[in-house]
Symmetry: C2
């Protein structure tokens, strides 16, 4: 409404104070709503602020309150719907509590994660939510703890760190899912994940990701309970881009002693695996059974609809943000949250293998 031209310097409390003919301290009190201010002064200051279109500088405010009302979120890839949904959960809770979110992608590279954490700490975020790329390399997370700022882990645990972690227990659901496949008659069950490792998978090898470890543990347990050996040759890590995943899928299905069921470790992998299966002219579940982690809407639209392991991703995001903000604001008491469980949603992509070999 006021006919001011383009302004160069921002309006500050000092400007407002001058306009309202009071001291800077009084103007700050009236605007910041603290301390003792007379009705008269308050009105004059507020009017002046309105007139000048005063906006507080949050940077300056943060500087001497020590609170930035900003939390850092470090995820592997925001393009991955899994993180998209989790992030939505985080931002929804954050907004409700007056916090904002700085988002950084790491592409699951620990180096990028280290850098991200460092930068966020430098920016003086009030707390961090990290989906750690590695459960083993965690010195940088340890540093967050030492800095005194709250930290919550999402999706994956980190070894030896006393940190609130919001993640579903993968071992049990993996066990359950594997049992389901075993009971359907499958023995050659493949598992495809993007987890990066230096060497191909071998049984008992220590893995960077608690998630994947737990999933493999669950599978192994299910096999062993049946007196069977979990086929380590069908565990394929290091799945990269879409093309490499398709290649992996072809290998799994075209070798002698091929896989009769494939478990995809996340939605992105699932897309490429299913695509490759279709390209090979094979049918699900007639030629190969399929199971995937995460339940996205599109999994119901394929023919047949896909059997999935549904995780409460949005809720996990909310829980992580809630836990973090509680730490930021109050005492550390994490107050046991309700357990977040994954569940097997049986739709149509699993059936008995073409040639059932119960004894192998």
């Amino acid at each position: 409404m006021s006919s001011n031209g383009s302004r160069r310097r921002d309006i500050t409390v000092a400007d407002v104070a001058k306009a309202a003919q009071v001291s800077k301290a009084q103007a700050a009190r009236a605007l910041g709503n603290y301390g003792a201010v007379s009705q008269d002064v308050r009105e004059r200051v507020l009017a002046a602020a309105e007139e000048l279109d005063y906006r507080p500088n949050e940077l300056a405010r943060s500087m001497n309150t020590g609170k930035s009302h900003t939390i850092g979120v470090v995820v592997g890839d925001i393009e991955n719907p899994h993180f998209g949904l989790a992030t939505r959960g985080i931002t929804d809770i954050a907004k409700k509590s007056g916090f904002h979110v700085i988002l950084i992608n790491t592409d699951e590279e620990t180096a990028a994660e280290v850098e991200a954490v460092r930068v966020l700490l430098d920016k003086r975020v009030d707390g961090l939510i990290v989906a750690p790329a590695s459960s083993l390399e965690t010195q940088h997370l340890q540093q967050v703890r030492e800095s005194g700022r709250p930290l919550v882990l999402l999706d994956r645990k980190a070894g030896g760190l006393d940190v609130v972690t919001i993640a579903v227990d993968m071992a049990d659901i993996s066990y359950e899912s594997t049992r389901y496949l075993l009971e359907s008659g499958h023995r050659r069950i493949a598992f495809v994940s993007t987890l990066k490792t230096d060497e191909p998978y071998e049984a008992g090898m220590e893995l960077d990701s608690s998630q994947i470890s737990e999933r493999l543990d669950g599978m192994r347990r299910a096999f062993e309970e049946e007196g069977l050996r979990h086929p380590a040759d069908l565990v394929r890590l290091n799945a990269g881009d879409a093309e490499s995943i398709r290649k992996t899928t072809r290998e799994l299905l075209q070798c002698s002693d091929a896989a009769t069921a494939i478990i995809a470790s996340d939605g992105l992998i699932a897309l490429s695996v299913v695509e490759a299966i279709q390209e090979l002219g094979l049918s699900i579940p007639g030629d190969v059974s399929f199971l995937m982690y995460d339940d996205f809407a599109w999994t119901r639209l394929t023919t047949p609809p896909l059997t999935v392991i549904a995780q409460p991703v949005y809720e996990m995001g909310m829980a992580a943000a809630t836990a973090l903000i509680r730490q930021i604001e109050g005492r550390k008491a994490p107050t046991a949250t309700e357990p977040l469980d994954a569940r097997l949603v049986r739709r149509g992509s699993v059936s008995a293998p073409r040639a059932v070999e119960i004894f192998n």
Copy 2:
């Protein structure tokens, strides 16, 4: 390595200066890498900083440089893969240039957007990328301009604002797609969008979204070129949650004079529309043809694979960030970017309608 306990106060330049036995100014110069510093002093300061594990306070730095190296990104919903992908494009470019991203969701509410812009301005971001919820209510965007901070619009244009806007031209691709449907024999072509309006759609009504306006304009033009009237009763706006979209779909397909083709305005809508079609026991494209905006990987996995209007979403995110950062760093010269075009990807979800009525 150093065996320090948990530290309460952060290390500052003053601390480093004291440890290195130089003045604060010299320490700052050595650390900030500016001004003239002797080799001797530089080494002592750097050693002290290393020893104390000094980390600069970016807040303080931002305060007197005026640059926060942070950009604000305001989108409708990060959970929507469209924005997830665009955000990825933005963050990739931002990271490459040393910028970070504060992300805010608006749920396509203008009120939330106004608030988001205000907060980001208060936090002194260096620039803003906004996917405006409304192309008409743009006073808050005007304020951004007046604040002197760079602004780039994503996805949608905003009326009367002289702002760099990264969006594909929807009129042409919509025209082309509609022609395709018309040539396939369709006349009853429905369009479903989440755009909120106060009243049901009528021909010629002014819409909040430039995107949707352009799409409807393109449809209308295609119809008129054939001497036909664009059926306004089949334009369904205000599609909300999954259930309401399914309901809308049922209405479109079960009334007398039902739609023979449906165009979904985005991926989220598409999911519910296709689901509803399947629930009705109808087949695509036998009973109803289907076309959607945005090309996601899952659209190739359905039976049949879906015909889509592919937009270079990731590239748009990159272009928006590039344009913004150019404005932040250099002069305003937007240097005409290569045009970002959508294209029709014909897969299997469009065919002739069951009962072809060429003349209606």
